[in-house]
């Protein structure tokens, strides 16, 4: 059986009495695109830094393609590329030099100074320079500029290109689109879809729920260091309430007592409510009333997310 792209068992990180991550059990299969959500301080970046071996767990363990994150970080890193949320790069280097440096650091497999092939990713794991140049064009980056002259968004483009150009088996993305304009965000989504089509695994931590909704097969929601939801959007929606909006031509019926119905809001002749479980009792009441228009929709990821935390949480 092929090893999981990501596997954690009871992964925990405590800072004093505070549990930044609390017994995380997570599996991400090869080829999956998994979204990782949570408010600030929920433990998303801590999870990623543990998986990357940048910090050590207080308890538990994590694996990347069967390789222990703490004991075999170098081997694990050969299989992944990482994009941090903050693009702190070397100010005196140009974009081209940064890409070359990060490409050589990823692709040389322990033999510094060896000349890489100029073709596609080969047996030595070298970066595909043609693909790199294509990404530079797609993200509209001027690689001759020094990093200190780049805007925040352009610095973010550099580290995105540096990760995507590797075509690594696993892309670990921590708030990857912060600072990007909508056009570049679309370019990023295109690249992630291509990565998925090539069979790459993507682990995407993001605050942009529409991005996660558009790209991810499964979504995990973290709350105060604990994974409180993990599943496909369809599974999560199935467990969540359906939003129904009815406009009445005649008398507006009282829906508050209907089994499964909650959060009833009336605005003149328009009534909105949430339905959990079977919709038959509600339909029976609506059929008896004079309904002019009826709309129903599944909850968006944003509504699922807010339902987990509560709007005021």
């Amino acid at each position: 059986m092929a090893a999981m792209a990501i596997r954690t068992e009871g992964l925990t990180k405590r800072y004093g009495d505070v549990a930044a991550l609390d017994h995380l059990d997570l599996e991400v299969a090869p080829g999956e695109v998994v979204g990782y959500l949570g408010p600030n301080g929920a433990g998303k970046t801590t999870t990623i830094r543990l998986l990357l071996g940048l910090i050590s767990p207080t308890e538990g363990r994590g694996e990347i393609f069967g390789l222990d994150c703490q004991r075999q970080p170098v081997e694990a890193h050969r299989r992944l590329a990482f994009v941090p949320g903050e693009a702190n790069l070397w100010p005196s280097l140009t974009g081209a030099e940064t890409l070359r440096l990060l490409g050589r650091a990823w692709g040389s497999r322990g033999s510094w100074g060896s000349r890489g092939s100029r073709g596609s990713r080969g047996s030595r794991g070298q970066v595909d320079e043609a693909y790199r140049d294509e990404l530079v064009a797609r993200f509209d980056l001027d690689p001759a500029k020094k990093v200190r002259a780049y805007s925040k968004g352009n610095r973010q483009k550099v580290i995105l290109i540096a990760a995507l150009m590797t075509r690594a088996d696993l892309l670990v993305l921590d708030e990857p689109t912060s600072g990007l304009d909508p056009l570049m965000e679309q370019a990023f989504r295109g690249c992630v879809r291509e990565a998925r089509d090539r069979g790459q695994t993507v682990f995407l931590s993001s605050h942009i729920l529409s991005e996660v909704e558009a790209l991810c097969d499964r979504v995990g929601i973290l709350r105060q260091g604990k994974l409180v939801e993990l599943g496909t959007l369809a599974e999560m929606r199935h467990l969540s309430a359906l939003t129904v909006e009815a406009t009445f031509a005649g008398v507006v019926p009282d829906l508050s007592g209907v089994p499964g119905v909650s959060s009833v809001q009336a605005d003149g002749r328009v009534v909105r409510c949430q339905v959990r479980g079977p919709v038959a009792p509600l339909l029976k009441v609506l059929a008896a009333a004079d309904v002019a228009e009826l709309l129903s929709r599944e909850p968006s990821l944003e509504e699922l997310f807010l339902a987990q935390y509560g709007a005021g949480d």
Binding site: L54, E97, R148
Partner: protein, 530 residues
């Protein structure tokens, strides 16, 4: 007090307290040790005869009048060291709190408040002023208290004037740093510009005091003006005029330039793009070379120029050494003929420069981690050992080259004066400077591995301690146990005496052991930001 003044003052005052304490303790140690060690008039006369006309020590530490008194000796023994420390403190503090804040993006937040670019700089300068006042008050207080000791006997007014002279270079170089913070586009560049000015100022003063008939040059250097204040010996407050005038001009220029440049940019244009240097972006070790290059070039130039100057003055200075002078230089570790003895003492100053270069390399490694840039390498197939090992390899090569440069340029200076010293001997003396620097670097790596956030504090505290101990202990008044804690005390005064390769081996081994323990700790610990 406006918010920018308050913020800047808070940080400047903290730093001023630390340096004020160091200044005060250094002055007190020097004065008390003299009073206890040189009790009789005969001992004091011998000391005065030795140092009074010695051109080598005059070039390094300044002239030595009234060595028969505690006050005169204290000025000679400690003032140049404190003037240099004050200048370094001044330029680093102002570039950190002005240009550094801009680099970090915090300056923009402050400018979004109810102030202008010029107004913000004026407020920050007021905060820096609070730091200088703290430095002066603490230095003055400890000096006044020391003066109350009957064996020292320095009146409060004279003590405060001496403290004022000791912080004068700090004031000047705070202003220099404020100006270069407007000229340069980055903090590092601003500090480099100010450091160049410091180096040139010191070199001009050194030549003026070297007995080459160029004493008039003393008025061409801010260090010379401070020297001409002549605290505790023959006070000349008139020398405050050029100090105050230069400071005022520099500060006015800084405020003016702040108003005519964009935030984040410097007056000196910074190239926004450049031709890629492929060789120096080929991996972590190549990157370490690339990142070290600007600072290392600065250190090498400073070491080369200092070595050359020391070589140039060695023969004439050595010629003035009489019997009692030889005894005093012997206490400082020197042996041999006059020229060799002078070079032996001068090489101590070069050892300090090489050690500073070592400390700079290790603090730069830590800043890679604290700024988050190291994450980019360590999340690729680069092990922590590989990254740190590459960085340390570059450091060792830099230090060895520094030593060779020191020896070769000192030889070039001495040979031009037909001083009769050989290139191999001075090259060996240059290599002899490396082991103390390796010890410093090893201690820095140990701190980096175990207490990463205190790396630069540990490094510069160890350097300042080693320097103070060897300077104060030069007259033999300090206990052997204390002297042994200074890395410079363990170094033989080559070329006056042959290098002690065994002691050098022990120092290098201590450095390597510290680096190994630090490396193991670094491999096991979490990466930590600023």
């Amino acid at each position: 007090m406006p918010v920018i003044s308050r913020l800047t003052a808070g940080r400047a005052v903290r730093s001023g307290v630390i340096f004020g304490y160091i200044f005060g303790v250094a002055i007190a140690s020097s004065a008390i040790s003299y009073a206890r060690f040189y009790k009789t008039a005969a001992q004091r006369d011998a000391l005065a005869a030795a140092y009074g006309a010695n051109k080598a020590t005059s070039a390094l530490f300044g002239p030595a009048p009234q060595l028969q008194t505690v006050a005169g000796f204290t000025v000679f023994k400690i003032s140049m060291t404190l003037m240099l420390l004050g200048a370094v403190w001044g330029l680093l503090t102002s570039t950190r709190l002005l240009r550094g804040e801009e680099d970090n993006g915090r300056w923009e937040l402050l400018l979004a408040g109810q102030t202008t670019r010029r107004g913000a700089v004026v407020q920050a300068l007021r905060g820096l002023g609070a730091g200088v006042v703290t430095l002066w008050v603490l230095t003055g207080l400890i000096t006044v208290l020391t003066g109350l000791d009957t064996s020292v006997d320095i009146a409060a007014g004279r003590a405060l004037y001496f403290a004022l002279a000791m912080v004068a270079t700090a004031v000047i170089f705070l202003a220099v740093g404020a100006l270069t913070s407007q000229l340069a586009a980055t903090r590092r560049q601003a500090a480099a510009y100010a450091a160049w000015f410091l180096g040139v100022s010191y070199a001009v003063r050194l030549v003026a005091d070297a007995g080459l008939g160029l004493h008039g040059l003393i008025w061409a250097s801010p260090f010379g003006w401070v020297e001409e204040l002549r605290p505790l010996t023959a006070p000349q407050p008139l020398a405050l005029v050029p100090i105050a005038a230069l400071t005022a001009v520099l500060l006015a220029a800084a405020v003016y330039l702040a108003g005519i440049r964009d935030v984040g940019a410097g007056i000196v244009p910074d190239r926004a793009s450049s031709r890629p240097q492929r060789r120096l972006a080929g991996g972590p070790t190549a990157l370490a070379v690339r990142l070290a290059r600007p600072a290392v070039m600065g250190w090498w130039v400073a070491i080369a120029v200092s070595g050359l100057l020391f070589g140039l003055i060695a023969r004439s200075a050595g010629g003035t050494i009489s019997g009692s002078s030889v005894q005093v230089l012997t206490r400082l570790g020197a042996r041999g003929n006059g020229t060799d003895a002078v070079l032996g003492v001068c090489f101590l100053a070069l050892a300090v420069l090489v050690a500073f270069a070592a400390a700079g390399q290790i603090t730069a490694a830590r800043s890679e981690e604290s700024a988050g840039r190291l994450d980019h390498l360590l999340t690729r197939p680069v092990s922590r050992w590989r990254w740190l090992g590459g960085w340390l390899l570059v450091t060792v090569v830099v230090l060895l080259a520094s030593g060779v440069i020191a020896g070769v340029f000192a030889w070039a200076g001495a040979a031009s004066q037909h001083a009769g010293v050989s290139l191999p001997a001075l090259a060996e003396a240059g290599v002899n400077l490396v082991p103390p620097a390796i010890t410093i670097a090893g201690a820095g790596v140990l701190a980096f591995g175990v207490w990463p956030r205190s790396t630069s504090i540990v490094l510069y505290a160890l350097l300042a301690w080693s320097l103070l101990v060897v300077v104060i202990g030069g007259v033999g008044a300090t206990s052997h146990w204390v002297l042994d804690t200074s890395v410079f005390h363990q170094m033989a005064s080559a070329p006056a005496v042959p290098p002690h390769w065994e002691a050098n081996g022990v120092m290098a081994a201590i450095g390597v052991t510290g680096a190994l323990i630090g490396g193991i700790a670094f491999k096991r610990r979490d990466l930590r930001g600023a």
